[in-house]
Amino acid sequence: MGELRKKAQGLAAKPWFRMPRQPMLRHLSYAAVAVVFLYFLTQKLSAFNDYEVGEIAFYVVALAGLTLLTGVNGQISLGHGGFMAVGGFTLALLVEHTKWNVVPELAIAIVTSALVGALIGIPATRLRGPYLAGMTLMVALGLPYLTNQYDSFFGGDQGLTTPQPIGPASINPEQWLAWIQLACALIVLILLGNLLRSRFGRSFRAVRDDEIAASLAGIHVARTKVIAFMVSAGCAGLAGALLALSAGGVNSAEFPLSISIYLLAGMVIGGTGSLMGVWWGAILIVYLPTSWAPSLANHFHVNSQVSANLAVIIFGLVLVVGMLVAPGGIQGALRWVAVRVGAYFSPDGVPNMKLSLQEAPTDRAVHDSESVTQADKPGV
């Protein structure tokens, strides 16, 4: 082990590769790596697995928006399923009434849901905590069912159909759709990553931590909160539109309350406020309710009433246990490990915080450990 450690220390002293410091360049290089990885992944996978990868991608989009709103800006939302419905129905209506390309359709879905987000976000600036959760809950419950009220326009229970976009003939449609969805996810992550590094990101966090201090620093608190809501709802709308493409149609039953709750739980489990953590949350949302929970129910022969709700129960359990064991979620736990491994191999034994992938740190444990280690070492 000593040999290995020495070797690693030698490497650490002379890094052969360094990520660019400029945020846009750095995020683009992460994305480039992701593109190569995901390209080969989708090539290897079956059509059904491609479909699941696409699902993960649109949940990444929705979770990234939610983590910006709740994790970074501190506004809780139980209504993101509602914003997804807005995006999904917007796309479906455009498909029905126009002959446009999928790109402008997605763009309009984003804009529409961002505007609805502003409508909800403006009164939300006056509410906090449980009251805000209650109000956004109404969005999740109300908005999808509103479409049932206007049957002729929204297609009632049947909903509207959204045919899959057709790519080049050589590529199968599932793969093409998965690529579109993955491209959207990567673009959203790059843009949000940059946004969080910008003055807006700093304002979002300042407003979350102390509204009075933020306003005394010249930040327009209400405007900042509404902007966060709009960006977040826009992401949810894009996710909803991408979901509609996967499902081949939209109807109100596609956006149940559970989707909003899964999103909130997935965000917390992935790592609140972490843009990288959303991948973990998305994987959980895709596989837990449809694949893991049913096979678990089969294995233990539980009755149908339990098995129908098993996913929600597991989500709740994971949430409670997760928060006790790893308050920073999966991403926070990974960073915790990375920092410690880094400390073991670094020449002075001090954790290197640059290892952390997250722009907006919320994991207190990591910071505390850093300051303690520094205080313990004389002369550091």
Binding site: R199, A217, G218, T362, S371
Partner: protein, 237 residues
């Protein structure tokens, strides 16, 4: 010469009258000490000036402009900086980020660097901790950071609420010396709310004593410090 003018300012919280007809002016290059017992309305006065509470009547003017109808961030952008009680800093941000936050609306990204270095020059202990999160700072360092964040936007009016609260006497003395020099060097209008009358009178040119929401004394600081009877009656020393 621009002054901060407070005229007939009254603030009430429901049926409780926190301030009644408070009037005084604070001039450039001077420290105006606001003194008084607990519950006298000193904090409310500062909160009313920056719009954190709305006055029931009366006006606040700076340089002829009426501030009391503006939103908080607009008042801040008119050059009024407020350091609230309890060293309000953004705990989850580093020292550097807190300072950047204060400079955000005022300076471009390129200008921010040198402006922040100036603050580090003013408060050297902060420079050593610039990458540390604000929740790891000591009380005195936090207060320095809170004041630094207010100063980084180069305000014209600085409102300080109990900056010496909970600080060691030597830290307070250093803080007061920095404030005194800064007030003269940058021609600031400083309104200093303090329980600690002795230390604030030592750097103030003017003093306003508030008792139960009313101004009872408004005079030269030196005169108040010399008047044993007044001092004894209102300031308790």
């Amino acid at each position: 010469m621009p002054v901060l003018e407070i005229e007939d300012l009254s603030v009430s919280y429901g049926a409780v009258h926190a301030l009644t007809d408070v009037s005084f002016t604070a001039a450039e290059g001077e420290v105006t000490a606001v003194l008084g017992a607990n519950g006298a309305g000193k904090t409310t006065l500062l909160r009313a000036i920056t719009g954190l509470v709305r006055p029931r009547k009366g006006t606040v003017r700076y340089d002829g402009e009426q501030l009391d109808k503006m939103s908080v961030e607009k008042i801040v952008r008119h050059g009024v900086a407020h350091v609230p009680e309890g060293r309000s800093v953004i705990e989850e941000m580093t020292v550097d980020e807190n300072l950047r936050l204060g400079a955000l609306w005022r300076f471009s990204r390129r200008q921010r660097g040198p402006v922040i270095e100036e603050i580090y020059g003013l408060f050297p202990p902060l420079a050593e901790r610039r990458r540390q999160h604000a929740n790891t700072l000591s009380g005195g360092e936090r207060q320095m950071l809170a004041i630094g964040r207010a100063l980084v936007s180069r305000p014209k009016v600085l409102l300080l609420d109990e900056p010496s609260l909970g600080l060691a006497p030597i830290v307070t003395a250093r803080l007061m010396a920095v404030l005194r020099d800064l007030t003269q060097a940058s021609n600031l209008i400083v309104v200093l709310v303090e329980q600690n009358a002795r230390s604030s009178l030592s750097i103030a040119q003017k003093a306003v004593v508030i008792n139960l929401g009313r101004v009872v004394v408004c005079d030269d600081a030196a005169k108040l410090a010399g008047d044993t009877e007044l001092r004894h009656h209102y300031l308790g020393y």
